[in-house]
């Protein structure tokens, strides 16, 4: 009888501790295991929720709480909460028909009822080697979500570090042991955890956006008014925003243990910073005060892309495919290529600015145009050197890793196409074929080739060895830029013809 009472009280006690467990603020920084490395729980939890629901499905709780309630067998609390919507998105029409649904938001518990039928269908499609595999893909994605959801509910998705420094599912343990698990990390691991937690929580890139906006405003004021105070402020914001980005990059490097140059997100990050830095250098070298506002614009565009087009640019720190691991040539190759992108991006923004002015107010524009075209030529020359060097370094890397210097991979081919375009432009400028605004126009158009190399190969062509850096949602981004481009170029050409006659 006493034993029973003891057990019962223990049970109630443990129930009580599970009840409070999920709202414990220490959960956020607990070590958890995900994608081959230790991560703070907040990173892992938000990633798992995002993968299934696209966001935190329950505004009444924070991400950790939602994840914790699901993981500790208390999904009823979420299910019964009227604010919570445990729905997942299914877009494929045939799959929706299979599930007997019209709208694309599907309750995850309802979808679970179809699991067996989905598996059978998936196996059927896989084995019959259908050419059009979009249905199989859609089913596969949904099944992955369902599997993850079941794993979370079973407490298996959440791994904590036990005293023997091994990873265990939380369903084998009790709240006290889990909450104490941070003390099981080594000093080094603990530092890294805090670093990643801070990286996630205090978004330094948001700070960089803020600094860049101020920098943009003051650089514009300084270019207009020639005020010394404004130009000092510009320099201040120029250096602080670069410092902030450098800081974030260093943090990323320390967290991942590799250089931040392995996916689209990171190349956009580098190009933004590179474009700003380059504009800063040329600002002093050429004494052109309009370059810095343009540099800040590039930086801002890149930062906004990183922040808001998350479908296209995935900021998660993921494990690398073997060929990208510890490789000196890769780092130098990508950095060089990215710097060339930064040069050409700067040139593109400059041409857009110049062409916009040319279209709208072009009385006595020749003097300004001349100065800009000189600057453009230098930017292009620097870009061409970087691009050529980057391609050669890429060749050396490919030779080292794959055994051939050149293999006509789409990314390689397009980088060569871009190089040739800029070489043609520089030769044409030298031969005086592209006079005045024509040079600006062709330089503007040439950036489309860089965009094709940079994004188009991954999103539009999506074949070849370099597609490991790819993700989805980029095609519409490219199309909108192309439309914008066509408009600018048409207007400029019309204006040019007008002025000629």
């Amino acid at each position: 009888m006493r034993k029973l009472f003891l057990l019962l009280s223990l049970f109630i006690l443990s129930l009580n501790s599970w009840a409070k467990f999920c709202s414990d603020p220490n959960l956020e920084t607990l070590p958890s295991f995900s994608e081959g490395r230790m991560q703070p729980l907040i990173v892992h939890a938000s990633k798992s929720l995002k993968q299934i629901f696209g966001k935190n499905p329950c505004p009444s709780f924070n991400q950790i709480e939602t994840y914790c309630l699901l993981s500790t067998g208390r999904s009823e609390e979420i299910k019964n909460n009227s604010n919570c919507k445990l729905t997942t998105l299914v877009k494929h029409h045939e799959l929706l028909t299979m599930l007997g649904r019209v709208e694309s938001e599907i309750d995850i518990f309802e979808a679970l009822n179809f699991k067996q039928a989905l598996i059978e269908k998936y196996n059927f499609l896989e084995e019959s080697k259908n050419e059009d595999s979009s249905l199989a893909q859609a089913i596969g994605t949904l099944l992955n979500k369902l599997a993850l959801f079941e794993q979370i509910r079973a407490g298996d998705d959440w791994k904590f570090l036990n005293q023997n420094h091994t990873w265990k599912s939380i369903n084998t343990s009790n709240p006290n042991e889990i909450l104490a698990s941070k003390s099981n990390t080594t000093a080094d691991e603990s530092k890294r955890l805090d670093l990643e937690y801070n990286y996630q929580k205090y978004s330094i890139f948001a700070l960089a956006i803020f600094l860049s906006i101020l920098g943009f405003i003051f650089s514009l004021l300084s270019a207009r008014t020639e005020n010394k105070f404004f130009s000092k402020l510009t320099i201040f914001f120029f250096s602080t925003s670069l410092m902030a980005e450098l800081c974030a990059m260093i943090m990323r490097t320390l967290i991942s243990g590799r250089s931040p140059i392995t996916n689209m997100y990171e190349t956009v990050m580098l190009t933004g910073a590179g474009g700003l830095l380059l504009a800063g250098i040329l600002h002093f070298a050429l004494k052109n005060k309009h370059l810095l506002p343009i540099g800040f614009t590039i930086n801002l565009v890149c930062l906004f892309m990183m922040r808001f087009s998350t479908e296209m640019l995935d900021g998660e720190i993921k494990p690398l495919v073997p060929v990208l691991r510890d490789n000196f040539w890769l780092s130098t190759h990508v950095t060089t290529i990215t710097l060339s992108y930064a040069c050409f991006a700067l040139a593109w923004f400059v041409t857009n600015y110049v062409l916009a002015r040319f279209i709208f107010k072009s009385t006595d524009f020749n003097q300004t145009l001349e100065t800009w075209n000189k600057a453009l030529r230098i930017i292009l020359q620097v870009g061409v050197v970087f691009l050529a060097a980057g391609i050669l370094l890429g060749g050396i890397w490919a030779d080292y890793s794959w055994g051939r210097f050149w293999g006509w991979d789409p990314k390689e081919t397009w980088s060569l196409i871009s190089l040739i375009i800029y070489v043609i432009i520089l030769h044409g400028k030298y031969a005086n074929w592209f006079k005045d605004v024509l040079f600006t126009i062709v330089t503007n158009a040439a950036f489309m080739f860089i965009l094709m190399t940079w994004f188009g190969v991954n999103y539009v062509l999506s074949a070849g060895l370099h597609s490991y850096g790819s993700s989805t949602g980029g095609t519409s981004f490219l199309i909108s830029i192309f439309i914008f481009e066509t408009a600018i170029l048409t207007l400029s050409l019309l204006r040019w013809k007008n002025l000629k006659t």
Binding site: F33, E35, G36, E94, T97, M98, A117, E120, K121, N123, F124, L125, E126, E127, S128, K129, N130, E131, D132, S134, L135, W167, P319, V321, P322, V323, R325, D326, N327, V385, A388, A389, L392, G395, I396, D399, S401, W402, G403, F405, W406, W408, P410, T413, W414, L416, I417, I420, I421, I424, H427, G428, Y430, A431, V457, V460, L461, S462, A463, G464
Partner: protein, 457 residues
Amino acid sequence: MKNNFFIFISSMKFAISVLFIFMCMMIYGTIIESMHGTLYAKRAVYHSPFFYAIYVALIFSLFFSFIKRLPFKKTLMGFYTVHISLITILIGAIITGLYGLDAHMDLPPQQSVAEVTLDQVALNIRDENTNYAYDLPTSKNEQKLNWQLKLDSNHPLEVIKYVPFAKEIQNWISKVGTWTTVWQLSDGQSFKKINLSVEKEGIDSFNWGPATMTIIPMSSLDEISKKPSSQFANQIFISRDEENESLQVLLPEKGKWNKLLYKSGSINLPWSGVKIELVDEFFDMSPIQNYESTPPRGSNDTNNLEALLVRFNANNRPLEVWVTNQNETKININDKDFFVSLRPKTIPLPFSITLDNFRVKYIEGTIMPESYESFVRINGAPELFQVYMNHPLKMFGHTFYQSSYYQNSSGEFHSVFSVNRDPGRFIKYLGALFLTLGLVLYFFLIYREKKTAKGSL
């Protein structure tokens, strides 16, 4: 006239035109690749004679624009170096393209392998004693060959044509006593048409994913329906019911047989949305396979269909037979059996490699490989060489790279190496070095010129 030619070929216009064509070819190549796969793009563009002609035109253009700027001027040092380095790189590329080896090697565990495999395909013919191999052309289009092969003195074989990228098409011939059904299969998303054709009391079947559709005689159908359906997992049997002028279909459903008398409409199979439907029926007609040249669909190269048409005398009557790369074909020439197949061309190595051990390490908690490595022996010697990502094995002028791996049906790991011999490598590296130097020199000279110009002002 000679002078005019020199002016033309050394002109900027010529250079830019060649570069422009070069660029357009490359754009075309990448589009073709994403539509029809890497191999097709290589044959159509990158390894085509026209592409090599562009290289040569570029070399000429670079060379003559260089000659044009002689005699030597110090200020043009950068220009000279850059243009010579580009010529060097292009020559290196041509040498690699013509004399290099770009192959791969499949290493099963514990077996000594002394040959590498190429993209190119060879026609292999064997009888019980001899192997004959003939290299087939590397083009993208259908090739008329008209080869007269004398396999041994009295068994001639004519090779009519080779279709490197083929599609199967069907022609009908009349054949008394055959019954052919045309079925439309649907998996809920896409449709597929197949034929099942039998002579009297014959059997024909089609595998569709896990399901098998089989036409059998009525008597067999009755026998099978008496057995438990669990013995025939995922099998569908169809017979022609002469009395009712319809079909009998036997399909498993929830552990029992479901026997249908079928005339038309669609039959649901036990996978959601998967259906079959009889769309046509022919008597005394039989389909025969034919192959036509077509670009492969999709960027995946693994399932490319290749076909070769051969003609020979069987029982003193000429017979034309298609051979494909899907399986070996047995032909009987004047009462002697030969086995004909299309297989990737192999080249012997001067030594053998044995895969002693293969290891793959996964990223913890995932099935993504973190790294994989092979331990190999050369010529069976006890010394083990470790080959892994970014650490190739260099042996007798060949370089072996760990490129991938796979598991065979019995779960053993095969290691796949890419094998490479590049006689142009040194030249290309030399060119790259010169190019870097030249670009630095070029801008240094411009900068100095500007400085002196400013100084003199």
